[in-house]
Amino acid sequence: MRMRLVPDNTNWDFFGRSKLWLGISGVMMVVALISFFVQGLNYGIDFRGGTTIRTVSAQPVDVGGYRNALQPLELGDVSISEVFDPSFGADHNVAMIRIQAQDEEEAITAEATEQLRQALSTVAPDISFASVESVGPKVSGELIQTAVIAVLLAIGAVLIYIWLRFEWQFAVGAVLALVHDVVLTIGVFSEVQIKFDLAIIAALLTIVGYSLNDTVVVFDRVRENLIKYKKMELKEVLNISINETLSRTIMTSLTTMLALIAMFVLGGDVIRGFVFAMMWGIFVGTYSSIFIASALLLRFGVKRDWTRPDANSGNQYSNIDA
């Protein structure tokens, strides 16, 4: 017997509580935005400049000790955090040290790195730097600008594509669902204070692509059913379409989620934030394509006459043999 995630021939009503879902999403978006503006994002050095150093030592990480050792160097804002990963052994202790961008310096100098290493080796003699990354304020400003432009461009391009393939109501519905996903993802990053760097922008854009993928599949079915059931109420048509595609929506989200969970657990700590962003995005993307995009479409209304002009009548070549 085959595994069935969703029973055949479902006829669940997805619109009975559509106001509730839209309301919840609206509130969540407001919360996300407030969190973003009040608390802000935990920007990585890609976006605000500075240096991050990944240290490895056989001794347990002593955050306070590290901080005291770095104190005399007068580096300004220094944040130190220990990194955990199941793959690390007992003699593999990792910490991330972040140092703010120094005045009159773009990237960190080799001498400064050496000073840091010497200062830290007073606490942990065997300390080594697994990676040192430094981004100057000049570049970081440009990076954030490019990133914002990239996300806006992606949303704009998709708006145009769906408008061309469907109708403007579909495009607006899909894009609003998309904005919903992006806002909620940024909200989570602001709330949990996970490091927000360039890779997260890539994740955001993937979410844009994925959420659309889901929404477009539903819309494609809506278009088909609009042609098939000419007299049926729009709400009914939308509901049937979601039910018909539900099995596929869940199935694809689940396989993708499975792959991402594997990456999240086993892929190492370097990429965990990135994978987390995608997992969250796929979760909200699936939710929004079922509950938000179509509910918006219902409110916008769509044209009901989908009969295409007959290819054989009315154009200049139609009567060539007559």
């Binding site: 990239a150 992606a154 692509g209 659309l212 477009v216 494609d220 892929g267 990429i271």
Partner: protein, 553 residues
């Protein structure tokens, strides 16, 4: 029904075979890498038995393209440098002063005497004692301007000359600046490339970014310090006559002279004539060596014109000291003992062996036209890279296995078809990546994992559609056909939108983001291909062979 033209079948299987063929070297990564290195070494330095043996590890008739591993996976150093293009403007204007002076001298009657005025480095201010002769002065100095040689600057000249009261202000024109920027950055790029090649590491990336930036990525280097020592030094070498020496750094230098610190002795300053006798540009060779006391030194040789100048100067100035200046520091100031005719000499100083080796490399490669600022700098240790590869590999395998199992449980036999297509898809993705020589980064691996998850989407769409069509009982063959047909538009729309975002990521992104965009974008193309064409062929083959009355999807 479920018929596919023979030529189509040939093309589809052909593409699959081609993808797998090109992906093959990646399965034997270390072996192929050794083979490639050996082949390159043989080309460069001739063959040895050991290299031949390494080259023989991989048969020559098979493709040897590999997916390059990004810095985050292999470890290495990444630097983004900005060339201080404006430096060159200042030195260009400095050299212009003698020309302006000489041009105005014959016009003394109308313009009076000329004097250089202090100004910011981006302009040259010249005061004339007879302001009423400004008209004439402007005309003469404008006559010094040369047409700009560049595509965008065609038709314009290099200098802009204006007169304010009794001062002539000469600045470089916009077109000339652009042309100079272009030359400066290109020259820097070339010199950096030569310097890194001289050190000899595997596959460095040296690219220009934007108008005045250079991206340098060198795999396998443990720290950027080493790399910066090589490329960050300007290495402007000059040989200048010594006027005097003392301990006052603010000593009055006198017109045409300058005061420079000694490199080897704290608090010692030399007063030198500004115009060099010979510069590093006229060097043809430099090698690390040891002086007669056994201390590290650098041996150099001039080209014929440099050798002549050097020879003449040493012949005329026996007994006077002579300064060797590197980047504004006097390395040594030996007294000329005899006429040096052969055009070769030795630079001694307080060098370590490493420093003398580096200096020789720098002198051979030539001086950078302008200094560099480092905007971005990343070093990834090789262990961290290896950890990431290992973690990525395990995660990919587990992710793949989970998806395969899940598909089988849900769709049974059809799931098996989809799984075979998924495996082919991954192989083809690696094949394409190897063919185009793409670089795999950690986000790139995530892109592949995501592709694994999403690749089944097209098949899920088709299979779900077949299920639906089966319910309306049209017979299995018709249901399969309709399933493929009706799922098509959803598949196309869904994947095109993802491709759009991948393209935008590729265009706008840099570094790791770009790597992710490449794997995601290519992954979509190969996954749609395998899902639509390959599974369809497999299902058709199975269907024709068994002719089932009913099917379960």
């Amino acid at each position: 029904m479920l018929q596919t033209d023979l030529w189509k079948r040939v093309v589809i299987w052909g593409l699959v075979a081609l993808g797998i063929y090109f992906a093959l070297p990646n399965a034997f990564y270390t072996r192929v890498e050794m083979h490639n290195d050996a082949v390159k070494a043989i080309e460069k330095q001739g063959s040895t038995a050991e290299l031949e043996a390494q080259a023989a590890l991989w048969p020559a008739f098979l493709p040897s393209g590999l997916v390059n591993l990004g810095l985050d996976l292999r470890g290495g150093a990444h630097l983004l440098a900005e060339v201080r293009v404006a430096d060159v403007y200042a030195s260009r204007l400095e050299t212009l002063w003698p020309d302006v002076r000489d041009a105005l001298r014959p016009e003394r009657d109308s313009v009076g005497t000329v004097r250089l005025q202090p100004s910011n480095p981006l302009e040259l201010r010249v005061k004339i004692s007879k302001p009423e002769g400004m008209e004439k002065a402007l005309e003469v100095v404008r006559g010094l301007a040369q047409p700009v040689v560049s595509l965008t600057g065609a038709g314009s000249t290099d200098l802009e000359v204006n007169g304010v009261d009794d001062e002539l202000i000469v600045t470089l024109s916009e077109a000339e600046r652009q042309a100079m920027d272009e030359r400066t950055v290109r020259q820097s790029l070339e010199i950096i490339r030569r310097r890194i090649d001289a050190v000899g590491t595997r596959e460095p990336t040296i690219q220009r970014q934007g108008t005045d930036r250079i991206l340098i990525q060198v795999p396998g280097i443990g720290s950027t310090a080493e790399l910066k020592a090589i490329i960050g030094t300007t290495a402007q070498l000059t040989f200048q006559p010594v006027v005097g020496r003392g301990s006052d750094k603010d000593a009055v230098a006198g017109v045409g002279n300058e005061v420079l610190p000694a490199g080897d002795e704290e608090g010692l300053f030399y007063t030198l004539e500004q115009a060099p006798v010979v510069t590093g540009e006229e060097l043809v060779d430099a090698q690390p060596t040891f002086d007669q006391n056994g201390r590290p030194a650098v041996n150099f040789r001039f080209n014929p014109s440099g050798a002549r100048k050097f020879g003449d100067y040493t012949a005329n100035n026996i007994g006077s000291p002579f300064a060797i200046v590197l980047d504004g520091e006097v390395i040594s100031a030996p007294v000329i003992q005899s006429h040096i005719a052969g055009g070769s000499g030795i630079i001694t100083g307080n060098f370590s062996v490493e420093e003398s080796t580096n200096l020789a490399v720098l002198l051979r490669a030539g001086a950078l036209p302008a200094a560099l600022d480092f905007l971005e700098e990343r070093t990834i240790g090789p262990e961290l890279g290896q950890d990431s590869i290992d973690a990525g590999r395990v995660a990919s395998v587990v992710a793949g296995a989970a998806v395969l199992l899940f598909m089988f449980l849900t769709y049974g036999l059809f799931g098996v078809f989809a799984n075979i297509a998924l495996i082919i898809n991954i192989a083809m993705l690696f094949g394409v990546l190897s063919m185009i020589g793409a670089t795999l980064t950690l986000p790139g691996i995530a892109g592949i994992v995501l592709t694994v998850g999403m690749a089944v989407d097209a098949n899920v769409l088709i299979f779900e559609r077949i299920r639906e069509e089966l319910r309306t009982a049209k017979g299995p063959a018709r249901a399969i056909e309709l399933g493929y047909e009706k799922a098509q538009s959803a598949i196309v729309d869904a994947n095109l939108t993802t491709i759009i975002t991948a393209i935008i990521l590729f265009v706008m992104g840099s570094g790791p983001v770009r790597g992710f965009a490449i794997t995601l974008g290519l992954g979509i193309v190969t996954s749609v291909f395998t899902a639509i064409f390959v599974t369809r062929l497999m299902i058709a083959m199975w269907f024709r062979r068994t002719r089932p009355k009913t099917i379960e999807v």
